[in-house]
Structure formats: C-alpha cells, structure tokens
Amino acid sequence: MALIRRPLNNNEGSSSKADSELPNLLSQSGSYSIDLENENEEFNEIAGDYNYPLVAELERNQAIDNEQTLQEVAEQTTYGAVFLNDLIRRQRALSVSVAVTFLIIILSLPLLNFWLRDLVSFELFGFPVSWLFLAILIYPLIWLLAFYFVSTADKYEEEFTNLVE
C-alpha cells in the first residue's frame, strides 16, 4: 500500500537515532515489496489502472526518501515549520471563506423561494428568475468561485515557496 505502515515519529529522537533506523526501514520495505510485486502483476492484469499496489510500491520507496527529507525540514528548519503552519492557516481560511460565501448564496435560495415566491417567479430574459438562477446561472457562478480559489491558493503556495527557499 501507498502508506508507510510504521509511524515515523522520530521527533524527539536525535538525528543519529533516525539514521540508525534507516537500514532497518529499508530492509522492511524490501521484504515487503516482494509479495507486493506479485500482487501487482495480478492486479495489473485484471484491474488495469485500478491496480494500485505497483504505483504504491514505487511511491513507497520514494516516500521513504521523502519522509526523511520532510522529517529533517520538520525538525531542523523551525522557520520552515512556522511558515508551513502559516500556509495551512491561510489555505484553510481561504477554503472556509469561499465555502461560506457559496453556502450563503445557495442556502438562502430556498428561503427566498419560501418567503418571496412571487419575486422569484418574476421573469428575466424570458425565464422565471428562480429557474434561470438554479438551472443555468449557478454553474458559471460555481466555476468563478472555484477559479478564484484555485488562483489564490496557487498564489499562497508560490509566496510560501519563495519565502522558504
């Protein structure tokens, strides 16, 4: 599977401890990969791309290297960790604000329909307004919100990357 079974919580440990565990980890993954390979062939043959173990396995070996690097960043570069926390906070605030904006719009519609039935059956461009909104206009609206989110999230990550590097 794609995920390391064994928790890499060497946080408190010294880096030498992490080093000493490295061979152990690799050998574990080595023995594990043998039976995974068999699974891979089997799944490849039957399930096409639903076969995950192969990708997972390749990733797994890679992930071990990455985990080590990540671990180092997490432990050593305090600045990096602070920046990352800041990034997570900003991303979360962005996601939540876009979500809340959308929910306010979409959840107020039933209330409008409930209280202002005549208003929402007013005609615009030859459509009843409520239909026009819910059957047509809402899709570009969703897309624009998504576009705003994606470009802002990209921008945040770029700023973060520039800061850390």
Binding site: M1, G48, N66, G126, S130, T161
Partner: protein
Amino acid sequence: MNNINWLSIIAIVLVIGVTGTLGIWATRIVRTTSDFFVASRTVGPIMNAAAISGEYLSAASFMGVAGMVMKFGYDVLWYPVGYAAGYLFLLLFVAAPLRRFGAYTLPDFAEGRFNSMAFRKIAVGFVMIIGFFYMLPQMKGAGVTLQSVLNAPYWLGVVIVGAVITLNVVLGGMKGITFVQAFQFWLKIFAISVPVFILLGYFGNYGDHLRTQQNSPDAPRFASNITIDFKSNTHLQFNAPVTFTLGQRGKVQIENATPIILEGGQIYKLNAVELKLLDSNRLTFAAGEPVPNAPTGTVWAHAFGPLTGDSVGSPSLSLLYSYSLIIAIIFGTAGLPHILVRFYTNTDGKKARHTTLIVLGMIGVFYLFPPIFGVLGRAHAPELYALGTTDRVVLELPGKILPDWLAQILLAITAAGAFAAFMSTFSGLLVSVSGALSHDIYGRMLRPQASTRERRYAFRIAAFLAGGGAIVAGLFVDKFDINLLVGWAFAIAASSFFPMLVLGTWWRGLTRVGATAGVLAGGLSASLAIVITMIFGDSGSAIGNGVVVAGTDPLFSTLLAQPAIWSVPFSFLTMIVVSRLTKRQIPDDINHIMLRLHAPEALGLRNDYIKE
C-alpha cells in the same frame, strides 16, 4: 416506441465495441505499468478531467435528472446543482491534500493518516456500502433503457446489461480505464447536447416552455388517444375532470372511500379525483384528457412541489427536506470513494486543483442539458406520467419529432449516451468494490498468505459476486427514482467519509478513535435511516416521491428519508467530541503528517513519486 429500434441497438453495440477496443488499445500502451502512472505522464489535464467527469456522470445524471425534473419540477434542480457544487467542496477541502498525502484510496488515507489497520477495515466496509448503493440506480438505468429500446421487461434489461458489464469486468475488460472514461465523457456530452439543440429547434425555446407551465393551473393533457395497462394497486391522480373507458371489470377505490366494483367496457366521467386501481386494468383515454399523476403547472414550476412537499404536506418540512437533500449531495460528492480514486492521475496537489477546475467546467456545461429534456418532456411526452416511466424521457422524447429518420437517429444517440452512462459508472464501481473485497477482505484479512493466482481468482469471484448482488438488488428498485437511490449513496458518503477527510486534513486534533467513532456514528445511522425508508417506505400518493414511512410522524419520516441534515453534523460532532476526550492519542508525528498533506511540491521535498 412500440417496436424495436434497430438503430439504437446498433448504437449500443457500437458503444460496447468501441469501449472494448479502446480498453485493449490502452492496455497495449499500459502493459506492465499501472494506467495511473501512464495517465499522469502522457495524458493532458483536459483528458484527465474528462476521465473524472466520465466516471462521475452516471445514469442518474444522464437519465435520472431529466426524468425527475419532468416528474417533480423545480425542486429537482437541486440534484444537478449539488452534483456540480460537490466538486467545489472537493476542490476547497479535499483534492490537493489527498493527492499530496499520496493516498490512493480512502482506506489508504484512513490507514495512513491515523495509522490504524482497524480503521482501514471500517473504511473498506463503507466503500462497499456506498458502492453498492450507487450500483442500484445504475441497474435501474439499465433496466429502463432496455425496456425503452428493446421493449423488453424491466428485469430482463437489468439481467442482460448487468451480466454483460460484470462479465466484461471479470474478464479484465476494464483496463486502461482513463482512456475509456475520457471517451465516455465526450460521448455523453455529445449525446445529451446535440438532441437538445434539435429538440429546442423543433419544439420552441426553453424559457417559453417554462413560462407556459408557471402560469398553468392545469396538468398536461394526452396528445393522442391512448390505451394504458396498469398494474394492481396503481394510484392515479387526476387534477382535472376526466373521461376514460375501463378495459375490464375490476375493483377501484376513489379517494379514501370504500372500494367499489366498476364494470368493464364502460365510459366513466369523473371530477378531479384520486383513484386507486385495486385490480390490474386497462384504461383508454381520448386525446385532450388530463394525464394522471402529473402535478399542475404552477406546482411543478415552483419550489416545494411534490418532491419535497408531497410526502410531508407541510411547507416548513419541505424546506427541511430541501436543505437535507442539498447537504447530502454537496458533501457526499466530496466523499465518494470511486471519485476520489481518480484524483491519483494528477501528478501533484496543484495539478489536482487545476484538474478539478476543468472538471467543474465540464460537468457544469453538461448539467445545463438534462433539465431541458425534463421541461420539454412535460409538454410533449406527457403520457410518461401515466405510464410511470418519466425516467425514460431522455430515451423517448426524441421519438416525438419529425421527420422520422431524424427521430430515429436522435433516439439512437440518446440510447448510446445512456448506455455509456451506466456502463462507465457501474464498471468503475464494480472494479473498486471487487478490488476492496479481494484485496482488503480476502488478501489481507482472510488469507494473507494467498498466492497471486488465488488472489486473481478472488478478484474475479468478487466481481462476479458483487455484480450478481447488484443485479438481484437492482430487480427490486424499479419503484424508486434513479436520483433518489443515488441521493442515498451520497447521504452515506456525506455522513462518513466527508467529515473524516475534512477534519483529517485540516485539524491536527482528530484522533484515531475520534475519526472511527464519527465515521461509524454518522455512516451507520444514515444507512439505517435509508434502509428503513427503502423497506417500509411507501408512496403516500400518486405524485409523491414514494418514500413515506407510513404511520409515522411527518417530521420523523422526512428525517428518515433525507438523513443528511442530522447525520452529517452528528458525524462531525462525534469526531470532535471523541477526539477531545482522547487527546493523548494525537500521534507525535502529527506535524509531519500535516507537512505531507499541505507542503507544496515546489519545495522539492517530494520529487517525482515514480521514476522511470
């Protein structure tokens, strides 16, 4: 159509043929590596997004939305809106972190984030429950399509199509699925849009149809003389005085009065009334008679119509029903296991976001079309109300235009699109459910020492069993609308995986026990409510949505039929409260996990996963 439409059959056979050929062709490229690997390298973001959309647009989207819009009107628009808006929430909260985490399936995520095999097993269980619920409407779509095209009985369609697709999966015909799904998407959007443009050209514009309905206090009327066979215990609700000829002597109940025996061969004139045919009978209506079981124009065109209102009979409960439905669909999309799996084809978290944006554009365009079928169907194929087959409107409406050759071509196009819709989704579900069964249940729990051959064999058996189970269950869901069934799968996903994903990626404090408890509490209670509704739910009236649990309080019945409004918060709350209580269990490497979930790839912390 009363006879077999050969052009449609040719089109369906072509869809199966092209799908198979594409699969084989793609497999030849894929060969030894996983398709995901190939897809992420050789496929552009547009094709990737098309593959995601292709798997997502099921029978519910292609046929169900149109049929339900025709049947219930305005309220149904929430379904496609929710299906699309769900991707917004997927984008906001799940897409990038899930991809960055490197988890391929939801059970992978459950295991990796919480470092718990037990939780993985629970996740596998919910993957199968949701997959199963999602298969039922595909089966219904299959039955309905073959009914329409071959004039075959419902059960035959379910059995034939179910068997063909299951066999295809068992024999390994769903390889190279990214290419196949992308192709299916383009086929579906072609098959839904082109007929709509021609139909609008023929029947007149969209807005005019809506305005006519909005101000009409009347139900639609039959366009020509028609004779319809009804089964016993059929409700027929007439919103205007009606005249019909009864085929044979039979017992009939008017409103809630004592049943009476009516003689056959006689002409009956009734006021607007609700009839219940206690015996099966054949009714003949002249052209211009009101169509039974069709809501009036004003009710249909406005919010809180029969979908949300009829079963509960109170406006504020309709509001509750609407909200619960919206919550289920939006949050359910962001927790659907077979959809989340597709995000693995993205190379990194940033690309996952970009792909989702394209997907939103694609499905947003797609969902403009099905409601138009429903609106036109109400005006031009109203007999479907009486027949109880509004789910077939996409397959029947094109037959109403002239010249006949054009009608035949359009019918073939929509039949092919419908087939592509349930074929792609059913195959995808079948592969993921069988994968979970053979890989997680058999390969890990029952017989970890199983050999390759045994596992391969297990996958096939699992696919065979899951497909067979879906076929058998599919035979019994004829009475439920396709979207109602899909809505239930969404409600379960929204109450189990969605809270786990959102809190798991954004809140450090979520513990193993908290996540497990929340998934179980929300998922099981929602499943229970739905199963009760499925078993005991009965159509309270002819126009209602068929989900009233008789003899219960209307509020209770609404909360059972649409559980998301309480089950989603219940799941979130359980996770938060239990996590707070088990604070000590927050793993030491939580910062590390957060880093993995959210660190941009541009940092170079993770170079390519897969080295060539």
